[in-house]
Symmetry: none
Subunit: 291 residues, 2 copies
DNA sequence: CGCCTCATGCAATGACCATTGCATTTCCGG
DNA sequence: CCGGAAATGCAATGGTCATTGCATGAGGCG
Protein backbone atom coordinates (compact mmCIF):
# COMPACT_ATOMS: atom_id res chain seq x y z
CA UNK A 1 0.00 0.00 0.00
CA UNK A 2 1.18 3.47 -0.71
CA UNK A 3 1.69 5.88 2.11
CA UNK A 4 -1.31 7.94 1.15
CA UNK A 5 -3.43 4.85 0.70
CA UNK A 6 -2.43 3.61 4.12
CA UNK A 7 -3.48 6.86 5.74
CA UNK A 8 -6.75 6.80 3.87
CA UNK A 9 -7.41 3.21 4.86
CA UNK A 10 -6.68 3.92 8.48
CA UNK A 11 -8.78 7.08 8.47
CA UNK A 12 -11.66 5.20 6.90
CA UNK A 13 -11.50 2.45 9.49
CA UNK A 14 -11.19 4.78 12.46
CA UNK A 15 -14.13 6.82 11.26
CA UNK A 16 -16.29 3.74 11.55
CA UNK A 17 -15.48 3.18 15.19
CA UNK A 18 -18.34 3.68 17.62
CA UNK A 19 -18.32 6.96 19.51
CA UNK A 20 -17.51 5.36 22.81
CA UNK A 21 -14.60 3.52 21.23
CA UNK A 22 -13.70 -0.15 21.59
CA UNK A 23 -12.33 -2.04 24.54
CA UNK A 24 -9.39 -4.42 24.76
CA UNK A 25 -10.13 -7.39 22.53
CA UNK A 26 -12.15 -5.58 19.89
CA UNK A 27 -9.48 -2.89 19.69
CA UNK A 28 -6.90 -5.64 19.16
CA UNK A 29 -8.91 -6.92 16.22
CA UNK A 30 -8.97 -3.46 14.65
CA UNK A 31 -5.23 -3.06 15.15
CA UNK A 32 -4.71 -6.37 13.42
CA UNK A 33 -6.79 -5.24 10.44
CA UNK A 34 -4.55 -2.17 10.23
CA UNK A 35 -1.23 -3.91 10.69
CA UNK A 36 -1.94 -6.98 8.55
CA UNK A 37 -4.17 -5.86 5.71
CA UNK A 38 -3.18 -8.71 3.48
CA UNK A 39 -4.20 -11.34 5.98
CA UNK A 40 -7.37 -9.41 6.74
CA UNK A 41 -8.27 -9.59 3.05
CA UNK A 42 -8.34 -13.38 2.93
CA UNK A 43 -8.43 -15.00 6.31
CA UNK A 44 -11.40 -16.57 7.99
CA UNK A 45 -12.79 -14.93 11.09
CA UNK A 46 -11.38 -17.91 13.01
CA UNK A 47 -7.84 -17.31 11.78
CA UNK A 48 -8.05 -13.59 12.55
CA UNK A 49 -9.35 -14.43 16.01
CA UNK A 50 -6.44 -16.77 16.61
CA UNK A 51 -3.83 -14.27 15.52
CA UNK A 52 -5.42 -11.51 17.57
CA UNK A 53 -5.83 -13.78 20.59
CA UNK A 54 -9.59 -13.34 20.84
CA UNK A 55 -12.65 -15.49 20.43
CA UNK A 56 -14.12 -15.74 16.94
CA UNK A 57 -17.34 -14.16 18.20
CA UNK A 58 -15.39 -11.00 18.94
CA UNK A 59 -14.28 -10.75 15.33
CA UNK A 60 -17.90 -10.93 14.21
CA UNK A 61 -19.02 -8.39 16.77
CA UNK A 62 -16.19 -6.04 15.96
CA UNK A 63 -17.26 -6.13 12.32
CA UNK A 64 -20.78 -5.36 13.44
CA UNK A 65 -19.54 -2.53 15.66
CA UNK A 66 -17.91 -1.09 12.53
CA UNK A 67 -21.28 -1.03 10.84
CA UNK A 68 -21.18 -4.25 8.82
CA UNK A 69 -23.59 -7.15 8.91
CA UNK A 70 -20.72 -9.49 9.89
CA UNK A 71 -17.22 -10.58 9.07
CA UNK A 72 -17.77 -11.55 5.41
CA UNK A 73 -19.23 -8.11 4.65
CA UNK A 74 -16.34 -6.34 6.33
CA UNK A 75 -13.80 -8.57 4.62
CA UNK A 76 -15.25 -7.81 1.21
CA UNK A 77 -14.68 -4.10 1.84
CA UNK A 78 -11.20 -4.69 3.25
CA UNK A 79 -10.27 -6.81 0.27
CA UNK A 80 -11.45 -4.23 -2.23
CA UNK A 81 -9.48 -1.52 -0.49
CA UNK A 82 -6.38 -3.63 -0.17
CA UNK A 83 -6.40 -4.63 -3.82
CA UNK A 84 -7.04 -1.13 -5.04
CA UNK A 85 -4.08 0.05 -2.98
CA UNK A 86 -1.82 -2.19 -5.02
CA UNK A 87 -1.05 -0.64 -8.34
CA UNK A 88 -0.84 -2.60 -11.53
CA UNK A 89 2.73 -3.57 -12.14
CA UNK A 90 4.62 -2.79 -15.26
CA UNK A 91 7.33 -5.34 -14.67
CA UNK A 92 6.52 -8.93 -14.01
CA UNK A 93 7.80 -10.50 -10.88
CA UNK A 94 9.70 -13.67 -11.39
CA UNK A 95 7.71 -16.38 -9.80
CA UNK A 96 9.35 -19.26 -8.09
CA UNK A 97 8.28 -22.43 -6.48
CA UNK A 98 5.02 -24.27 -6.26
CA UNK A 99 3.49 -22.31 -3.42
CA UNK A 100 5.35 -23.99 -0.61
CA UNK A 101 5.18 -22.34 2.80
CA UNK A 102 8.81 -21.29 2.57
CA UNK A 103 8.49 -19.63 -0.83
CA UNK A 104 5.32 -17.88 0.28
CA UNK A 105 7.16 -16.64 3.32
CA UNK A 106 10.01 -15.24 1.26
CA UNK A 107 7.64 -13.55 -1.12
CA UNK A 108 5.70 -12.00 1.69
CA UNK A 109 8.84 -10.68 3.27
CA UNK A 110 9.79 -9.11 -0.04
CA UNK A 111 6.42 -7.39 -0.23
CA UNK A 112 6.77 -6.16 3.33
CA UNK A 113 10.22 -4.78 2.67
CA UNK A 114 8.99 -2.96 -0.42
CA UNK A 115 6.26 -1.42 1.72
CA UNK A 116 8.80 -0.48 4.36
CA UNK A 117 10.97 1.27 1.78
CA UNK A 118 8.03 3.29 0.58
CA UNK A 119 6.75 4.28 3.97
CA UNK A 120 9.89 4.92 5.89
CA UNK A 121 10.44 8.45 7.11
CA UNK A 122 14.21 8.51 7.24
CA UNK A 123 14.23 11.61 9.40
CA UNK A 124 12.91 9.43 12.20
CA UNK A 125 15.81 7.01 11.76
CA UNK A 126 18.20 9.95 11.75
CA UNK A 127 16.63 11.29 14.93
CA UNK A 128 17.03 7.95 16.68
CA UNK A 129 20.60 7.44 15.46
CA UNK A 130 21.61 10.89 16.65
CA UNK A 131 19.90 10.33 19.98
CA UNK A 132 21.82 7.09 20.47
CA UNK A 133 25.08 8.74 19.46
CA UNK A 134 24.55 11.53 21.98
CA UNK A 135 23.22 9.33 24.79
CA UNK A 136 25.03 8.49 27.97
CA UNK A 137 23.91 4.97 27.13
CA UNK A 138 21.15 3.20 25.27
CA UNK A 139 18.91 0.39 26.47
CA UNK A 140 17.06 -1.75 23.98
CA UNK A 141 14.04 -3.58 25.34
CA UNK A 142 13.09 -6.66 23.36
CA UNK A 143 11.76 -9.99 24.58
CA UNK A 144 10.50 -13.25 23.21
CA UNK A 145 11.06 -13.64 19.50
CA UNK A 146 11.70 -9.89 19.15
CA UNK A 147 14.88 -10.37 21.14
CA UNK A 148 16.68 -11.24 17.93
CA UNK A 149 16.18 -7.77 16.49
CA UNK A 150 17.20 -6.14 19.76
CA UNK A 151 20.32 -8.25 20.06
CA UNK A 152 21.42 -7.55 16.50
CA UNK A 153 20.86 -3.83 16.92
CA UNK A 154 22.71 -3.71 20.22
CA UNK A 155 25.59 -5.82 18.98
CA UNK A 156 26.19 -3.78 15.87
CA UNK A 157 25.70 -0.47 17.66
CA UNK A 158 28.42 -1.55 20.08
CA UNK A 159 30.64 -2.46 17.17
CA UNK A 160 29.98 1.05 15.88
CA UNK A 161 31.45 2.31 19.14
CA UNK A 162 28.44 3.20 21.28
CA UNK A 163 27.34 1.98 24.71
CA UNK A 164 24.22 0.04 23.80
CA UNK A 165 22.80 -2.91 25.70
CA UNK A 166 19.83 -5.14 24.97
CA UNK A 167 17.61 -6.43 27.76
CA UNK A 168 16.09 -9.64 26.54
CA UNK A 169 16.07 -11.98 29.50
CA UNK A 170 12.87 -11.22 31.32
CA UNK A 171 11.13 -8.87 33.66
CA UNK A 172 13.54 -8.97 36.58
CA UNK A 173 16.52 -7.89 34.53
CA UNK A 174 14.40 -5.32 32.77
CA UNK A 175 13.23 -3.85 36.06
CA UNK A 176 16.78 -3.70 37.38
CA UNK A 177 17.99 -2.00 34.23
CA UNK A 178 15.18 0.53 34.02
CA UNK A 179 15.72 1.46 37.64
CA UNK A 180 19.12 2.82 36.60
CA UNK A 181 17.83 4.76 33.61
CA UNK A 182 18.13 8.51 33.90
CA UNK A 183 18.06 11.71 31.88
CA UNK A 184 20.63 11.48 29.13
CA UNK A 185 19.78 7.86 28.38
CA UNK A 186 17.89 6.46 25.43
CA UNK A 187 15.47 3.55 25.53
CA UNK A 188 14.36 1.78 22.37
CA UNK A 189 11.36 -0.50 22.81
CA UNK A 190 10.99 -3.23 20.19
CA UNK A 191 7.67 -4.99 20.06
CA UNK A 192 5.84 -6.73 17.26
CA UNK A 193 2.41 -8.33 17.13
CA UNK A 194 1.70 -8.89 20.76
CA UNK A 195 2.78 -6.29 23.18
CA UNK A 196 4.39 -7.29 26.41
CA UNK A 197 3.11 -5.52 29.49
CA UNK A 198 6.65 -5.11 30.76
CA UNK A 199 7.69 -3.32 27.59
CA UNK A 200 5.02 -0.69 28.07
CA UNK A 201 5.93 -0.26 31.72
CA UNK A 202 9.62 0.08 30.90
CA UNK A 203 8.94 2.68 28.24
CA UNK A 204 6.73 4.71 30.56
CA UNK A 205 9.17 4.44 33.45
CA UNK A 206 12.16 5.44 31.35
CA UNK A 207 10.27 8.41 29.96
CA UNK A 208 9.28 9.60 33.42
CA UNK A 209 12.94 9.36 34.45
CA UNK A 210 13.89 11.75 31.70
CA UNK A 211 15.21 9.29 29.13
CA UNK A 212 14.28 9.65 25.47
CA UNK A 213 12.08 6.77 24.34
CA UNK A 214 11.64 5.38 20.84
CA UNK A 215 9.53 2.46 19.64
CA UNK A 216 9.89 0.01 16.76
CA UNK A 217 6.60 -1.77 16.28
CA UNK A 218 4.14 -3.07 13.74
CA UNK A 219 0.98 -1.40 14.94
CA UNK A 220 0.01 1.99 16.21
CA UNK A 221 -0.46 0.96 19.78
CA UNK A 222 -1.52 4.01 21.75
CA UNK A 223 0.12 2.68 24.91
CA UNK A 224 3.53 2.55 23.27
CA UNK A 225 3.02 5.60 21.08
CA UNK A 226 2.18 7.70 24.12
CA UNK A 227 5.41 6.66 25.78
CA UNK A 228 7.63 7.20 22.75
CA UNK A 229 9.03 10.33 21.19
CA UNK A 230 9.05 8.64 17.80
CA UNK A 231 7.54 5.40 16.54
CA UNK A 232 8.96 3.39 13.63
CA UNK A 233 6.21 1.35 12.03
CA UNK A 234 7.38 -1.90 10.46
CA UNK A 235 5.26 -4.41 8.52
CA UNK A 236 5.53 -7.75 10.32
CA UNK A 237 2.85 -9.85 8.68
CA UNK A 238 4.27 -13.34 8.41
CA UNK A 239 3.29 -16.59 6.79
CA UNK A 240 1.47 -18.94 9.17
CA UNK A 241 1.31 -18.10 12.85
CA UNK A 242 4.58 -16.27 13.29
CA UNK A 243 5.15 -12.58 12.77
CA UNK A 244 8.08 -11.87 10.52
CA UNK A 245 11.14 -10.16 11.96
CA UNK A 246 12.64 -9.47 8.56
CA UNK A 247 11.36 -5.91 8.39
CA UNK A 248 12.46 -5.28 11.95
CA UNK A 249 15.92 -6.54 11.14
CA UNK A 250 16.11 -4.29 8.11
CA UNK A 251 15.23 -1.31 10.31
CA UNK A 252 17.87 -2.32 12.86
CA UNK A 253 20.34 -2.55 9.99
CA UNK A 254 19.34 0.88 8.70
CA UNK A 255 19.67 2.42 12.16
CA UNK A 256 23.18 1.09 12.56
CA UNK A 257 24.15 2.34 9.11
CA UNK A 258 22.88 5.77 10.12
CA UNK A 259 24.62 5.54 13.50
CA UNK A 260 27.92 4.69 11.83
CA UNK A 261 27.62 7.85 9.77
CA UNK A 262 27.16 10.16 12.75
CA UNK A 263 30.83 10.06 13.78
CA UNK A 264 32.74 8.01 11.20
CA UNK A 265 36.06 8.40 13.00
CA UNK A 266 34.66 7.00 16.22
CA UNK A 267 33.06 4.08 14.46
CA UNK A 268 36.13 3.39 12.41
CA UNK A 269 38.32 3.26 15.47
CA UNK A 270 35.91 0.96 17.25
CA UNK A 271 35.82 -1.45 14.34
CA UNK A 272 39.59 -1.49 14.06
CA UNK A 273 39.85 -2.31 17.73
CA UNK A 274 37.38 -5.14 17.33
CA UNK A 275 39.23 -6.55 14.35
CA UNK A 276 42.50 -6.45 16.24
CA UNK A 277 40.86 -8.34 19.06
CA UNK A 278 39.49 -10.98 16.71
CA UNK A 279 42.93 -11.50 15.23
CA UNK A 280 44.56 -11.71 18.65
CA UNK A 281 42.10 -14.31 19.86
CA UNK A 282 42.35 -16.27 16.64
CA UNK A 283 38.62 -16.37 16.34
CA UNK A 284 38.29 -16.44 12.62
CA UNK A 285 38.65 -19.39 10.36
CA UNK A 286 41.29 -18.92 7.69
CA UNK A 287 39.62 -18.91 4.35
CA UNK A 288 41.57 -20.83 1.79
CA UNK A 289 43.03 -18.93 -1.08
CA UNK A 290 40.63 -18.28 -3.89
CA UNK A 291 41.50 -20.63 -6.75
CA UNK B 1 -2.06 -7.96 -14.90
CA UNK B 2 0.31 -6.72 -17.49
CA UNK B 3 0.77 -8.53 -20.74
CA UNK B 4 4.18 -9.87 -19.79
CA UNK B 5 2.99 -10.98 -16.38
CA UNK B 6 0.04 -12.68 -18.02
CA UNK B 7 2.35 -14.57 -20.38
CA UNK B 8 4.46 -15.73 -17.48
CA UNK B 9 1.39 -16.73 -15.52
CA UNK B 10 -0.08 -18.48 -18.53
CA UNK B 11 3.20 -20.25 -19.29
CA UNK B 12 3.40 -21.45 -15.73
CA UNK B 13 -0.15 -22.76 -15.76
CA UNK B 14 0.16 -24.47 -19.15
CA UNK B 15 3.37 -26.12 -18.10
CA UNK B 16 1.43 -27.86 -15.37
CA UNK B 17 -1.11 -29.40 -17.72
CA UNK B 18 -0.98 -33.16 -18.04
CA UNK B 19 0.72 -34.48 -21.17
CA UNK B 20 -2.49 -35.71 -22.74
CA UNK B 21 -4.14 -32.31 -22.15
CA UNK B 22 -7.55 -31.60 -20.68
CA UNK B 23 -10.99 -32.15 -22.14
CA UNK B 24 -13.99 -29.87 -22.33
CA UNK B 25 -15.04 -28.96 -18.81
CA UNK B 26 -11.61 -29.05 -17.20
CA UNK B 27 -10.22 -26.95 -20.03
CA UNK B 28 -13.01 -24.43 -19.37
CA UNK B 29 -11.91 -24.20 -15.76
CA UNK B 30 -8.33 -23.49 -16.80
CA UNK B 31 -9.47 -20.84 -19.24
CA UNK B 32 -11.43 -19.21 -16.44
CA UNK B 33 -8.35 -19.14 -14.20
CA UNK B 34 -6.49 -17.40 -17.01
CA UNK B 35 -9.20 -14.95 -17.95
CA UNK B 36 -10.37 -14.06 -14.42
CA UNK B 37 -7.36 -14.22 -12.12
CA UNK B 38 -8.87 -11.95 -9.54
CA UNK B 39 -11.94 -14.14 -9.12
CA UNK B 40 -9.73 -17.21 -9.12
CA UNK B 41 -7.79 -15.71 -6.21
CA UNK B 42 -10.77 -15.41 -3.90
CA UNK B 43 -13.73 -17.45 -5.04
CA UNK B 44 -14.86 -20.76 -3.65
CA UNK B 45 -14.61 -23.82 -5.87
CA UNK B 46 -18.41 -23.70 -6.03
CA UNK B 47 -18.48 -20.19 -7.41
CA UNK B 48 -15.80 -21.00 -9.98
CA UNK B 49 -17.75 -24.06 -11.00
CA UNK B 50 -20.88 -22.01 -11.47
CA UNK B 51 -19.15 -19.38 -13.59
CA UNK B 52 -17.41 -22.04 -15.70
CA UNK B 53 -20.59 -24.07 -16.05
CA UNK B 54 -19.17 -27.23 -14.52
CA UNK B 55 -19.70 -29.31 -11.41
CA UNK B 56 -17.70 -28.35 -8.34
CA UNK B 57 -16.00 -31.76 -8.42
CA UNK B 58 -14.47 -30.81 -11.74
CA UNK B 59 -12.83 -27.77 -10.21
CA UNK B 60 -11.23 -29.95 -7.56
CA UNK B 61 -10.12 -32.52 -10.11
CA UNK B 62 -8.73 -29.89 -12.43
CA UNK B 63 -6.64 -28.55 -9.54
CA UNK B 64 -5.45 -32.08 -8.91
CA UNK B 65 -4.66 -32.57 -12.60
CA UNK B 66 -2.47 -29.46 -12.32
CA UNK B 67 -0.47 -31.12 -9.59
CA UNK B 68 -2.12 -29.66 -6.48
CA UNK B 69 -3.73 -31.48 -3.63
CA UNK B 70 -7.01 -29.70 -4.29
CA UNK B 71 -8.66 -26.37 -4.90
CA UNK B 72 -7.41 -24.54 -1.77
CA UNK B 73 -3.80 -25.41 -2.59
CA UNK B 74 -4.15 -24.18 -6.16
CA UNK B 75 -5.93 -21.05 -5.05
CA UNK B 76 -3.18 -20.18 -2.60
CA UNK B 77 -0.67 -20.26 -5.45
CA UNK B 78 -2.95 -18.32 -7.75
CA UNK B 79 -3.51 -15.69 -5.07
CA UNK B 80 0.19 -15.27 -4.35
CA UNK B 81 0.94 -14.85 -8.04
CA UNK B 82 -1.92 -12.47 -8.58
CA UNK B 83 -0.89 -10.27 -5.65
CA UNK B 84 2.74 -10.35 -6.67
CA UNK B 85 1.80 -9.24 -10.14
CA UNK B 86 -0.01 -6.27 -8.64
CA UNK B 87 2.74 -5.18 -6.32
CA UNK B 88 5.84 -6.18 -8.27
CA UNK B 89 5.96 -2.96 -10.19
CA UNK B 90 6.16 -1.09 -6.94
CA UNK B 91 9.18 -3.12 -5.97
CA UNK B 92 10.94 -2.20 -9.17
CA UNK B 93 9.62 1.24 -9.86
CA UNK B 94 9.77 3.27 -6.70
CA UNK B 95 12.98 4.52 -5.27
CA UNK B 96 12.87 6.49 -2.10
CA UNK B 97 15.27 8.46 -0.02
CA UNK B 98 17.88 11.05 -0.71
CA UNK B 99 20.89 8.84 -0.23
CA UNK B 100 21.14 8.82 3.54
CA UNK B 101 22.87 5.80 5.03
CA UNK B 102 19.62 4.46 6.45
CA UNK B 103 17.70 4.72 3.20
CA UNK B 104 20.60 3.17 1.28
CA UNK B 105 20.58 0.35 3.80
CA UNK B 106 16.87 -0.28 3.37
CA UNK B 107 17.22 -0.17 -0.39
CA UNK B 108 20.06 -2.62 -0.34
CA UNK B 109 18.16 -5.02 1.85
CA UNK B 110 15.24 -4.87 -0.55
CA UNK B 111 17.52 -5.71 -3.48
CA UNK B 112 19.07 -8.56 -1.52
CA UNK B 113 15.69 -9.98 -0.68
CA UNK B 114 14.57 -9.79 -4.31
CA UNK B 115 17.72 -11.69 -5.25
CA UNK B 116 17.07 -14.23 -2.53
CA UNK B 117 13.55 -14.81 -3.86
CA UNK B 118 14.89 -15.43 -7.36
CA UNK B 119 17.67 -17.75 -6.36
CA UNK B 120 16.20 -19.75 -3.54
CA UNK B 121 15.90 -23.47 -4.10
CA UNK B 122 12.96 -24.22 -1.91
CA UNK B 123 13.67 -27.95 -1.96
CA UNK B 124 16.67 -27.22 0.26
CA UNK B 125 14.46 -25.42 2.77
CA UNK B 126 12.04 -28.33 2.67
CA UNK B 127 14.90 -30.77 3.25
CA UNK B 128 16.10 -28.82 6.27
CA UNK B 129 12.61 -28.39 7.71
CA UNK B 130 11.90 -32.09 7.40
CA UNK B 131 15.27 -32.96 8.93
CA UNK B 132 14.53 -30.73 11.92
CA UNK B 133 11.05 -32.21 12.29
CA UNK B 134 12.46 -35.74 12.30
CA UNK B 135 15.48 -35.00 14.49
CA UNK B 136 15.97 -36.09 18.06
CA UNK B 137 16.97 -32.50 18.60
CA UNK B 138 18.42 -29.59 16.65
CA UNK B 139 21.36 -27.39 17.57
CA UNK B 140 21.79 -24.02 15.90
CA UNK B 141 25.29 -22.60 15.99
CA UNK B 142 25.43 -18.85 15.64
CA UNK B 143 27.73 -16.37 17.30
CA UNK B 144 28.50 -12.68 17.25
CA UNK B 145 26.01 -10.65 15.30
CA UNK B 146 24.71 -13.79 13.60
CA UNK B 147 23.34 -14.88 16.95
CA UNK B 148 20.22 -12.87 16.24
CA UNK B 149 19.23 -15.08 13.32
CA UNK B 150 20.00 -18.23 15.28
CA UNK B 151 17.99 -17.08 18.27
CA UNK B 152 14.99 -16.14 16.18
CA UNK B 153 15.07 -19.44 14.34
CA UNK B 154 15.42 -21.45 17.54
CA UNK B 155 12.74 -19.53 19.36
CA UNK B 156 10.16 -19.88 16.63
CA UNK B 157 11.04 -23.51 15.94
CA UNK B 158 10.40 -24.23 19.61
CA UNK B 159 7.11 -22.39 19.38
CA UNK B 160 6.34 -24.68 16.46
CA UNK B 161 6.81 -27.59 18.83
CA UNK B 162 10.30 -28.90 18.10
CA UNK B 163 13.34 -29.35 20.36
CA UNK B 164 15.64 -26.69 18.94
CA UNK B 165 18.33 -24.83 20.86
CA UNK B 166 20.68 -22.08 19.79
CA UNK B 167 24.27 -21.92 21.00
CA UNK B 168 25.30 -18.30 20.90
CA UNK B 169 27.39 -17.71 23.98
CA UNK B 170 30.88 -18.69 23.05
CA UNK B 171 33.25 -21.57 22.46
CA UNK B 172 32.98 -23.27 25.81
CA UNK B 173 29.25 -23.71 25.60
CA UNK B 174 29.54 -24.72 21.99
CA UNK B 175 32.09 -27.40 22.80
CA UNK B 176 29.96 -28.75 25.62
CA UNK B 177 26.93 -28.88 23.37
CA UNK B 178 28.64 -30.52 20.42
CA UNK B 179 30.11 -33.16 22.69
CA UNK B 180 26.55 -34.41 23.26
CA UNK B 181 25.58 -34.41 19.58
CA UNK B 182 24.88 -37.83 18.13
CA UNK B 183 23.27 -39.59 15.19
CA UNK B 184 19.66 -38.49 14.91
CA UNK B 185 20.52 -34.88 15.69
CA UNK B 186 20.61 -31.94 13.33
CA UNK B 187 23.08 -29.08 13.46
CA UNK B 188 22.47 -25.82 11.61
CA UNK B 189 25.51 -23.58 11.30
CA UNK B 190 24.76 -19.92 10.69
CA UNK B 191 27.65 -17.77 9.60
CA UNK B 192 27.86 -14.62 7.56
CA UNK B 193 30.78 -12.53 6.37
CA UNK B 194 33.56 -13.78 8.58
CA UNK B 195 33.60 -17.37 9.51
CA UNK B 196 34.29 -18.33 13.06
CA UNK B 197 36.78 -21.15 13.51
CA UNK B 198 34.58 -22.67 16.17
CA UNK B 199 31.66 -22.86 13.80
CA UNK B 200 33.66 -24.92 11.33
CA UNK B 201 34.90 -27.21 14.06
CA UNK B 202 31.43 -27.70 15.44
CA UNK B 203 30.04 -28.55 12.02
CA UNK B 204 32.78 -31.07 11.32
CA UNK B 205 32.51 -32.65 14.74
CA UNK B 206 28.74 -32.97 14.56
CA UNK B 207 29.02 -34.56 11.14
CA UNK B 208 31.56 -37.10 12.30
CA UNK B 209 29.23 -38.00 15.18
CA UNK B 210 26.52 -38.85 12.72
CA UNK B 211 24.40 -35.72 12.91
CA UNK B 212 23.02 -34.09 9.78
CA UNK B 213 24.63 -30.71 9.19
CA UNK B 214 23.22 -27.74 7.28
CA UNK B 215 24.70 -24.30 6.74
CA UNK B 216 23.17 -20.89 6.21
CA UNK B 217 25.84 -18.57 4.93
CA UNK B 218 26.62 -15.78 2.51
CA UNK B 219 29.61 -17.27 0.77
CA UNK B 220 30.51 -20.59 -0.68
CA UNK B 221 33.10 -21.41 1.93
CA UNK B 222 34.60 -24.80 1.12
CA UNK B 223 35.24 -25.49 4.80
CA UNK B 224 31.61 -25.16 5.72
CA UNK B 225 30.28 -26.62 2.48
CA UNK B 226 32.32 -29.76 3.01
CA UNK B 227 30.82 -30.21 6.44
CA UNK B 228 27.24 -29.59 5.41
CA UNK B 229 24.74 -31.75 3.64
CA UNK B 230 23.04 -28.63 2.21
CA UNK B 231 24.07 -24.99 2.12
CA UNK B 232 21.62 -22.11 1.94
CA UNK B 233 23.27 -19.12 0.31
CA UNK B 234 21.96 -15.76 1.49
CA UNK B 235 22.99 -12.31 0.23
CA UNK B 236 24.30 -10.45 3.25
CA UNK B 237 25.95 -7.40 1.79
CA UNK B 238 25.14 -4.47 4.02
CA UNK B 239 25.63 -0.75 3.97
CA UNK B 240 28.83 0.42 5.62
CA UNK B 241 30.87 -2.06 7.61
CA UNK B 242 28.19 -4.41 8.80
CA UNK B 243 26.84 -7.43 7.01
CA UNK B 244 23.08 -7.36 6.78
CA UNK B 245 21.13 -10.03 8.63
CA UNK B 246 17.90 -9.19 6.86
CA UNK B 247 18.24 -11.96 4.29
CA UNK B 248 19.27 -14.41 6.97
CA UNK B 249 16.22 -13.50 9.01
CA UNK B 250 13.99 -13.99 5.99
CA UNK B 251 15.44 -17.47 5.51
CA UNK B 252 14.90 -18.28 9.18
CA UNK B 253 11.33 -17.10 8.77
CA UNK B 254 10.87 -19.25 5.69
CA UNK B 255 12.31 -22.29 7.45
CA UNK B 256 9.91 -21.93 10.35
CA UNK B 257 6.99 -21.50 7.96
CA UNK B 258 8.02 -24.73 6.27
CA UNK B 259 8.57 -26.46 9.60
CA UNK B 260 5.10 -25.47 10.77
CA UNK B 261 3.67 -27.15 7.68
CA UNK B 262 5.35 -30.51 8.35
CA UNK B 263 2.99 -31.51 11.15
CA UNK B 264 0.33 -28.81 11.52
CA UNK B 265 -1.39 -30.58 14.39
CA UNK B 266 1.80 -30.68 16.42
CA UNK B 267 2.56 -27.05 15.75
CA UNK B 268 -1.00 -25.99 16.48
CA UNK B 269 -0.99 -27.77 19.82
CA UNK B 270 2.34 -26.21 20.73
CA UNK B 271 1.15 -22.73 19.91
CA UNK B 272 -2.03 -23.22 21.90
CA UNK B 273 0.02 -24.33 24.87
CA UNK B 274 2.23 -21.27 24.56
CA UNK B 275 -0.74 -18.95 24.32
CA UNK B 276 -2.32 -20.52 27.38
CA UNK B 277 0.95 -19.94 29.22
CA UNK B 278 1.11 -16.29 28.13
CA UNK B 279 -2.39 -15.72 29.37
CA UNK B 280 -1.67 -17.43 32.69
CA UNK B 281 1.42 -15.34 33.31
CA UNK B 282 -0.37 -12.17 32.33
CA UNK B 283 2.44 -11.28 29.99
CA UNK B 284 0.54 -9.40 27.40
CA UNK B 285 -0.51 -5.81 27.62
CA UNK B 286 -4.20 -5.08 27.34
CA UNK B 287 -4.63 -2.57 24.64
CA UNK B 288 -6.73 0.37 25.67
CA UNK B 289 -9.84 1.24 23.76
CA UNK B 290 -9.18 3.19 20.63
CA UNK B 291 -10.46 6.70 21.08
C1' DC C 1 -21.09 -49.40 -34.77
C1' DG C 2 -19.16 -51.24 -30.54
C1' DC C 3 -15.87 -51.15 -26.99
C1' DC C 4 -12.88 -49.10 -23.81
C1' DT C 5 -11.03 -45.44 -21.29
C1' DC C 6 -11.42 -41.19 -19.38
C1' DA C 7 -14.23 -37.25 -18.01
C1' DT C 8 -17.92 -35.59 -15.47
C1' DG C 9 -22.02 -35.24 -12.40
C1' DC C 10 -24.41 -36.63 -8.23
C1' DA C 11 -24.58 -37.20 -3.57
C1' DA C 12 -22.69 -38.55 0.78
C1' DT C 13 -19.48 -37.06 4.16
C1' DG C 14 -16.69 -34.65 7.39
C1' DA C 15 -14.76 -30.25 8.31
C1' DC C 16 -15.02 -25.53 8.79
C1' DC C 17 -17.55 -21.42 8.54
C1' DA C 18 -20.24 -17.33 10.67
C1' DT C 19 -23.77 -16.08 13.75
C1' DT C 20 -26.27 -15.62 18.03
C1' DG C 21 -28.26 -16.66 22.76
C1' DC C 22 -26.77 -17.24 27.26
C1' DA C 23 -23.49 -16.97 30.95
C1' DT C 24 -19.48 -14.95 32.71
C1' DT C 25 -16.07 -11.43 33.01
C1' DT C 26 -14.48 -6.82 32.81
C1' DC C 27 -14.63 -2.05 33.23
C1' DC C 28 -16.38 2.30 34.62
C1' DG C 29 -18.80 5.47 37.45
C1' DG C 30 -20.84 6.68 41.79
C1' DC D 1 -16.11 -1.13 47.14
C1' DC D 2 -20.38 -2.12 44.71
C1' DG D 3 -23.56 -2.23 41.02
C1' DG D 4 -24.75 -1.91 36.38
C1' DA D 5 -23.72 -1.89 31.65
C1' DA D 6 -20.99 -3.49 28.16
C1' DA D 7 -17.60 -6.69 26.48
C1' DT D 8 -16.31 -11.25 25.79
C1' DG D 9 -16.23 -16.36 25.67
C1' DC D 10 -18.63 -20.72 25.05
C1' DA D 11 -21.36 -23.62 22.62
C1' DA D 12 -25.24 -24.68 19.77
C1' DT D 13 -26.82 -24.16 15.19
C1' DG D 14 -27.47 -23.97 10.35
C1' DG D 15 -24.98 -23.25 6.21
C1' DT D 16 -21.24 -23.81 3.01
C1' DC D 17 -17.12 -25.80 1.93
C1' DA D 18 -14.00 -29.35 -0.49
C1' DT D 19 -13.33 -34.06 -1.38
C1' DT D 20 -14.27 -38.63 -3.08
C1' DG D 21 -16.78 -43.05 -4.41
C1' DC D 22 -19.93 -44.57 -7.64
C1' DA D 23 -22.59 -44.28 -11.76
C1' DT D 24 -23.21 -42.36 -16.12
C1' DG D 25 -21.87 -39.94 -20.24
C1' DA D 26 -18.64 -38.61 -23.83
C1' DG D 27 -14.95 -39.21 -26.95
C1' DG D 28 -11.63 -41.77 -29.54
C1' DC D 29 -10.13 -45.79 -31.89
C1' DG D 30 -10.54 -50.07 -34.38
Amino acid sequence: MTERAADSFEDWLRERLPERGLRGKAAAVVELLLSQPRRASFASAGELAQVAGVNVATVTRTAQALGFAGWPALQLELRARYLSSLSAGQVAAEHRGNGSPSSRSLRRDLDSLALLNRRMDERVLLTIAEAVAAARRTVIVADGSYAAVGLALAHNARLAGYPVAAVTAGDAELANTVSTVAAGDVLIAISFWRLYESTVLAANEAGSRGARVFAITDAASPALANAAEEVVLVPAEGEAFFPSLTGGMAVAQALVAQLAAVDPARTGASIEAAEAMWARFGLLHRRPATP
